[in-house]
Symmetry: C2
Subunit: 348 residues, 2 copies
């Protein structure tokens, strides 16, 4: 039995409590400063307010003020913060981690530099660990996994990535269950890029649903030809982006496309894509979905910006990315949804 | 204005009448000997019995007995037969085609030889054309396109493939509309392999839906983690199969994965996969869907057989294809549905 401390009691961090605890570990769930109400409710009911199922018995819940106690004697820290918590985890949590304690992060995203580089959160945090003269290995989870389906024990396959394969095997030993299947990879850039890139493309597939509703009526049949056309274009562009990251292996692409598939059906990104496709402005779409955090918009803007910088340097050809550029035009400049079909066809 | 003769009045052949006719061509739809009732109804109502929408006005309908008249003066023949009509088209239609008249085939599939090769229908028909000392160029359509959505004018993107890019451009000029977007490729093996391979994998994704219904109840929520895990595995295996065909380009994979996406939602293959996942035997599943033609089963059996022969020769490694092998075990040997999750995880 190991001790696993999950920091961040959003849906994804909280969902990971299930395999961790059902695999007979001691599990502590720590809310961030934004999660006080969630922890209060978990303590009271042993259930996350957004889940339909109780936590396994024996999970311990901590407010952020008690994080030091929650970290005491831990064998693994799971970082469950969203994109918007990345700097908080870096500045507040990394300094207080016991030295050497490994981190497994489920946050998906990339950071764009002014030079057009796209940096993984793993590397972003690793640099801080080094600054602190500490030795906490940073590993991460990639792959198709929605939180509520993990809670429901749907069969799930993910990849844990990190520098040290022996450590990854140990972490897999802590987390693997008969419904949570884990591949291991030392390709951190590939794993993290594959699963970060899919968000904007999932929005693109959803646009076609809204565009059809606009053309054929809100109660028209769901069509798949147009979704599939955008999905196929996304496969092409994601692989080109992975290659631009130096991470064009088939395993990475398969992971990212699996993640794209689940994200197409995954709630918020789909909803905003449909609303944009219907003709709502970005402001209108976001106000209809008030309060949601749209990580898809953050990441696709960053990736598009990085590719434009690289194109200026002659490193990539933007005509390889017509779908990404259209999504960015919508998200960054308020352009209307209008899939550039002609730019998808070619001779080859 | 060109004259387009479509042979085979099944759903797909009949759907292609729409872009052909709406692009201002003279269009003739010819039923096979199995399609007499369809043609009778089309003549009477100007609507295909399986479509919710009339044909554009001016389409001419022919029984197979009048095929010679239907071919007179044609500029293009579209072959719309199913997998089960491939030999009929080869033996009955190719000999009566006016010499030089190009063929555009929408039939998706591959033929397995005893040596483990997988031959496209294009090449199968080309060899017959040569035997006849004729010069009919054979081209083909690949990509994600369900017939009823093409009829509904959902935005659709496909690839026309053939040996002669100039001819392909002419055929594209005949068929392209503002909802039917056409790429062109001289990679016949790649295009045809990509779109044939997806059928078995679509069945695999559907299995997870049925397996969840078996485990959680028929009215349980649809889950996507498990679908996405199988979808990602399918990306991996399809690319390995394309490489084994000497056709591993990204354009081919993107086309095939788009086609996989649409097939996952495409009716019969999905239904049989769900029934098998629920635990029905193949016989039970097929009897519940009496009368349907399951091209997915034909093609996945052929591909699995070819890969086993190639593996015996040391040309491929069957551990690259655990999903294909499981689908084949179900379809060919009546094995129960039991996704081999452990064989999907690895270190890389």
């Amino acid at each position: 039995m190991k001790t696993v401390t999950v920091i961040g009691s959003g849906m994804m961090g909280s969902a990971l409590v299930f395999p961790a605890r059902e695999n007979n570990n001691k599990v502590r769930l720590v809310g961030t400063h934004l999660d006080e109400d969630i922890i209060t409710q978990c303590k009271k009911t042993n259930r996350h307010p957004k889940f339909k199922r109780d936590f396994p018995s024996g999970v311990e819940f901590y407010y952020i003020s008690d994080v030091a106690a929650a970290l005491e004697g831990a064998d693994l820290v799971i970082c469950g913060v969203s994109n918007f918590g990345v700097e908080w985890f870096r500045d507040v949590i990394l300094p207080i981690l016991p030295d050497g304690l490994p981190v497994l992060a489920v946050t998906k995203g990339l950071i764009a530099t002014d030079e057009g580089e796209l940096i993984t959160y793993v590397h972003h945090w690793q640099s801080r660990v080094r600054e602190l003269s500490k030795h906490n290995p940073i590993c991460a989870i990639g792959g198709p996994c929605t939180s509520y389906e993990l809670v429901a024990h749907d069969q799930t396959r993910v990849t844990f990535c990190g520098e040290d394969i022996e450590l990854l095997r140990k972490i897999k030993g802590i987390m693997a269950t008969d419904y949570y299947h884990i591949s291991l990879s030392t390709d951190i850039v590939g794993t993290e890029s594959a699963v970060a890139l899919k968000n904007g493309y999932a929005l693109g597939v959803a646009l076609t649903v809204g565009l059809n509703q606009k053309q054929f009526g809100l109660d028209s049949e769901l069509h798949y030809n147009s979704q599939a056309a955008v999905f196929g274009q996304a496969v092409f562009e994601m692989q080109r982006l992975l290659e631009a990251q130096g991470a064009g292996s088939l395993d990475n692409l398969a992971l990212g496309i699996g993640d794209l598939y689940v994200t197409v059906y995954g709630g918020r990104t789909r909803l905003v894509g449909i609303l944009l496709g219907r003709g709502l402005s970005l402001e209108q779409a976001l106000s209809e979905l008030s309060g949601v955090t749209l990580e898809s918009l953050v990441v696709s803007k960053r990736v598009a910006r990085a590719m434009r910088i690289r194109a200026q340097k002659g490193l990539v050809d933007l005509t390889d990315y017509p779908l990404l550029m259209h999504i960015d035009a919508i998200v960054s400049s308020g352009a209307p949804a209008d899939i550039p079909w002609d730019s998808f066809v070619k001779e080859y």
